[in-house]
Assembly symmetry: D2
Homo-oligomer: 358 residues x 4
Amino acid sequence: MASNQPDPSPELDELYRGFEKELLVPLWTEIGDLMPASPSPAMRPHVWRWQTLLPLAEKAGELVPVGRGGERRAIALANPGLGGAPYATPTLWAAIQYLGPGENAPEHRHTQNAFRFVVEGEGVWTVVNGDPVAMRRGDFLLTPGWHFHGHHNTSREPMAWIDGLDIPFVHYTGSAFFEFGPDQVSSTETPDRSRAERLWGHPGLRPVSQPAPAVSSPLAAYRWEHTDAALSDQLALEDEHHPGVVEPGHAAVRFTNPATGGDVMPTIRAEFHRLRAGVETAPRREVGSSVWQVFEGAGTVRVGDAEWAVDHGDLFVVPSWAELTLAAGTQLDLFRFSDTPVFERLHADRVQVGGQQR
Amino acid sequence: MASNQPDPSPELDELYRGFEKELLVPLWTEIGDLMPASPSPAMRPHVWRWQTLLPLAEKAGELVPVGRGGERRAIALANPGLGGAPYATPTLWAAIQYLGPGENAPEHRHTQNAFRFVVEGEGVWTVVNGDPVAMRRGDFLLTPGWHFHGHHNTSREPMAWIDGLDIPFVHYTGSAFFEFGPDQVSSTETPDRSRAERLWGHPGLRPVSQPAPAVSSPLAAYRWEHTDAALSDQLALEDEHHPGVVEPGHAAVRFTNPATGGDVMPTIRAEFHRLRAGVETAPRREVGSSVWQVFEGAGTVRVGDAEWAVDHGDLFVVPSWAELTLAAGTQLDLFRFSDTPVFERLHADRVQVGGQQR
Amino acid sequence: MASNQPDPSPELDELYRGFEKELLVPLWTEIGDLMPASPSPAMRPHVWRWQTLLPLAEKAGELVPVGRGGERRAIALANPGLGGAPYATPTLWAAIQYLGPGENAPEHRHTQNAFRFVVEGEGVWTVVNGDPVAMRRGDFLLTPGWHFHGHHNTSREPMAWIDGLDIPFVHYTGSAFFEFGPDQVSSTETPDRSRAERLWGHPGLRPVSQPAPAVSSPLAAYRWEHTDAALSDQLALEDEHHPGVVEPGHAAVRFTNPATGGDVMPTIRAEFHRLRAGVETAPRREVGSSVWQVFEGAGTVRVGDAEWAVDHGDLFVVPSWAELTLAAGTQLDLFRFSDTPVFERLHADRVQVGGQQR
Amino acid sequence: MASNQPDPSPELDELYRGFEKELLVPLWTEIGDLMPASPSPAMRPHVWRWQTLLPLAEKAGELVPVGRGGERRAIALANPGLGGAPYATPTLWAAIQYLGPGENAPEHRHTQNAFRFVVEGEGVWTVVNGDPVAMRRGDFLLTPGWHFHGHHNTSREPMAWIDGLDIPFVHYTGSAFFEFGPDQVSSTETPDRSRAERLWGHPGLRPVSQPAPAVSSPLAAYRWEHTDAALSDQLALEDEHHPGVVEPGHAAVRFTNPATGGDVMPTIRAEFHRLRAGVETAPRREVGSSVWQVFEGAGTVRVGDAEWAVDHGDLFVVPSWAELTLAAGTQLDLFRFSDTPVFERLHADRVQVGGQQR
């Protein structure tokens, strides 16, 4: 696009040196990179294998203590296109976190929005603003911005899970605040259900006594039993020839703030997808990046020119506007999170399915 | 307030005759009624007894057929202050509806928003836009404006329930539209759960495939088991010294649109309240009128100067800005609906609790 | 619609007497009136003539003092279909108010939303929350709910204008509150522009220091010079074949809250329309009622079956869903207000133009 | 913060090499940088001098043609903290654009939001979606995302102005789309007022015929005469002891979308500030970055540890959470734009004035 450049000349060289000296850059030499015809992000599609991640996390469990200062034994995916920064995508952080038996991760709070997703295991409680939240297989657990939180493992087994945050976005835009809380988690209770669930976890019901939080969801935990049932219901409705699935053989639910119906946190969308064995999704592009984790089953993923066989626990990332296709070998359950709310709130969202604008 | 009137005189008489002839009315003679210091509605507090209503409905079941033309065997509460109109309050309709074994109520749709609440019994399915919705004890069931709906009783027993609508408001403001649907209900299926519940009835989850309806809730049924559990959870949280109840011994949930977190329909708020035995609520006034039905238990209700002992199934109405106090003899479960969303959307809502503005 | 009634019988008579005794009304005898196929309001189309109104207001100026108690020398239009109540429509109040030289109307505030429109004359300042607002020909002036306000005539001439309020709606729904303010207006200044205009009256600009009021417009005065220019601009754009007019030869602007872009007050929409000489508008129906006043020019108005020649200052009312056509003899300028925001906020609005749903 | 690190050991080294090989980064070594106690952006405060910029732009006018490919003769500010990228701040682009007599800049559109601000000169029309918009001294002119636009200079004089865009933010988040339009601007008309102004530029009035655009403002031009009058009004109100100014001697207006009252574009806030001679503002920090240009007058600016004397046309940038103080030597008029809407829409905004949270 930027092919039509002025002819080289000593005066032009001098002008360009003038620009450089005065901290100026001309548009006409940069416009092709700055303003491409469609998004061409630096991040690259990539897959990280659970069978690689988990042993490294276990090894870190042996060698690296958890405590004040380092704060968390979390190991982040570093996208190969992003220069070594610990960013899964330009906006999203994804890490495996590991906590051994009896260990504690001290309390702190930050403006970054965070969640946990549990691909396997149990035994840890995350304490969010004083409310102990059990973490179990398949659960999706929230720590919205500026909520104090710590974790403690009360079991005899270590536990690993996935953390998702908007660290790169917050870092890039310069909106990070951080405060330490108590060195020990503020509650060592181990209730089956959090107080948040007892108040906000009944379908279509809200507690009259509580304010309706518009910023982020008051529901600290989204339990696997509900997610699983919702996905099963959609596939059963399809069997009965009723609407429900996204496309043939493809069920999907979005985690939402029950007080608004919107996304759980201002910058992060989270969803769960289930494909029947043998199903291949229509190719889909959208503005914004996403991180997926295989929860159960196996299949094949294509992202742009990349293609991978994926299995339990594998994590892969999808750049903005890259075409994504999922093909299920067995029934395939996937967790996904993305930065879509940023684009929707700024009216910059676009989606294409099967080559058609939606 | 309108005491300071001009002195009578022949000229004044002539002026007033001139006004009358020209269809004019002076403000200065009417301002006291038109613009009172605080709301002074024409409607009156009143109670209707379930043990009176139900036999009349049963008798109507013998004498009055259900079918096209009359449409529904519904018998409406007529507030004694509203001149014989079938209005429970100036804005709200409340009726007992009765359907015998094997009977059908034909399909129609209207802009009036409607719901059913089941104080006892079961065996009827209400079919809402083609989706059969079981009606069972304690359930709250929606028929938002302009949704086709009919009912059929598949059991060997008659069933009676409460209808709530915004008929008076719609009539008054001139926004009523009505269309007939099929004479027979469009589905005679009798599923345990409606398709709406299978899509929208999972806590904090929304189906990615479905649009998020902003006007009224897509969740056709709010089941008693969830309402009951939510109320129990609030009282248990109170026992553990955690927030949850509205005031000591008083739990309350609001039925909401899971796609917005707001009220189920544009003109109607619906809630369920539970009081521990022996609890008396703080006196409360609010702008807007409401209808209450005792679901279980017994107690005493004071509305302005009126006081009644109330029991299972009794219905009572609360005028705008009348002071309401509830006192529970036994544990007392109450269903309530009101026109509060009208005032909130028009920024005319006010609430006073224990004499203090909220 | 309610033709299919049960056969008369002694038992049925007894049942109906039982209903009456217990303050109950069956739906099946009332449904035709309560739930018509389309809105059939009790209010009727009607016109009030300025040449009749003004002399009666002048006569009231002689005979009726203005002061505390009666509060205002306002004479309201009483729709012939509304049983003598001082209501122009079921929801809207419209009155001519008259203030003689040197007279004062004492301060008060109320939850009813109010405005003034000046069809001719000047010399009065309305003081709204302490801010003196000049009233001049063509101006549209706001007194949103719960703002203190009084008026004073500083000129040597009497002045008459039109008041519009939502008194009937507030009365019907039971949301009226009222408080007296000072007996004398709180400011006797007579500035050309109000402070509100100096802060909020610059196009597309808001004062950084001021909160953005969502409930009602902070702009106390909409001046004729701006309204006139906006209408002229639309007709000039039409001459240049650019979009702007509502339909050929028909320009229209809506008065808006600059802090939201929405209607000036929660219950009242206000607009100004200009028709070129010879233009006839497409027939239009909409949910909700409206009041129109001819500002300048002459023409013919059809509302349902009624038809009137109208001239400067004449006021006419349009019931919900009645078909309205305007035909301009000369260039015709009309002010209009309606209850449309009530329906839009409750998702009950519908419009038909030329027989087509919009 | 990240001081508490595990002791070095061969095993730890091996673990860290494993991380690197697998594209992983531990949180505990990075947390201090990633999650600082308060924003510590890479961008630096900096000032660019108008008397430097303008000659360089003039020289580019001689040497660099304007046309398809390079698209614009725009020269961007490159923040010294951002590695040579043409970014004034992490999210905002600011450039001087220069168009000689008779020159044309071809039409294109892009998802990046853009505006022009004119610090001096006139003679260029920017054509936005076919609507020619005159550019004159003090005007603020919009080209919201995905609007076709080109420029043509119809005068005998060159013209230079400031462009502001969200290029860095759109680049970073991967949401850029771009399309070429006609090589020649689609209209060579030179009207005094744009059609947009004739429709939307009347205070508090909206055209009934036009949709209300929620995404960005339909008002293409904000004229200096209105901005100047609004600022003067605020200072005059201060003289009369009425509210209006932001703080003593400091008037400010925000450019808004008249259809919503909100910011002109989803990612960019624009304001104009006027300080009386001798006034010094309270120190202010806020989340998000901004670019300021001195329009008239002279004064002193402090940003964090930097301090500069500034004069007509000088541009300076303020990092997120850096403390800003302005001191006016003469009356000082400043134009400002920022990325604040991004943070407000994502609930990440914070402001501190005089050390106090607002």
